[in-house]
Symmetry: C2
Subunit: 106 residues, 2 copies
């Protein structure tokens, strides 16, 4: 059974995933490594917003980046991230309606 400390870290990990911008970024990165601008185009988010969130995701070791010339390529750092997203989809397949209706948060 996870300790309190591990639980708090897990809370923080999930908080990293509980933002629509960050999740959109992780989602477009599932296909392949992308530059910041490509991420901006595909998500429709502003550049500074994407960059801010990338800093967060990078700091949390959820993505890694590689500078190629003046472009910076980002990709998922770990296969388990995609697995986690997949598993979340599977769970959602069964609880989507409930989650959708829940009024406690948006």
């Amino acid at each position: 059974m996870p300790s309190t400390k591990t639980c708090d870290l897990k809370t923080k990990l999930f908080r990293g995933l509980s933002d629509s911008s960050r999740l959109a970024i992780l989602n477009v990165l599932r296909a392949k490594a992308l530059t910041v601008n490509e991420i901006v185009e595909r998500t429709g988010l502003s550049q500074s917003n994407v960059s801010n969130h990338l800093a967060c995701l990078r700091c949390c070791d959820l993505v890694i980046h590689e500078q190629h010339g003046r472009y910076v390529y980002y990709q998922l750092s770990n296969d388990r991230i995609a697995q986690l997203l997949d598993l979340a989809d599977e769970l959602l397949a069964e609880v989507a309606q409930g989650v959708s209706q829940c009024q406690n948060y948006s």
Copy 2:
């Protein structure tokens, strides 16, 4: 590839998991079904706090409840929830340090 709508729902699902109280509740429920009071004792949270979060988790179909006399037993609704928590632990095993250091949120 998940649609925007699915992504938003996933965001909401993760938001459900991104609170230390809710995660603590889900965590103690992994062992077995518990009454509200047992959850209160094991998590150290206040009764109203636990009850509020249980309402949220119940609404999201993440837990189910059964009334037995004056006690209400709660349990996880779906095996994938525990799987998701396990997978998060596995991912954390590799990114814990980064997550821990990240200053973007607490």
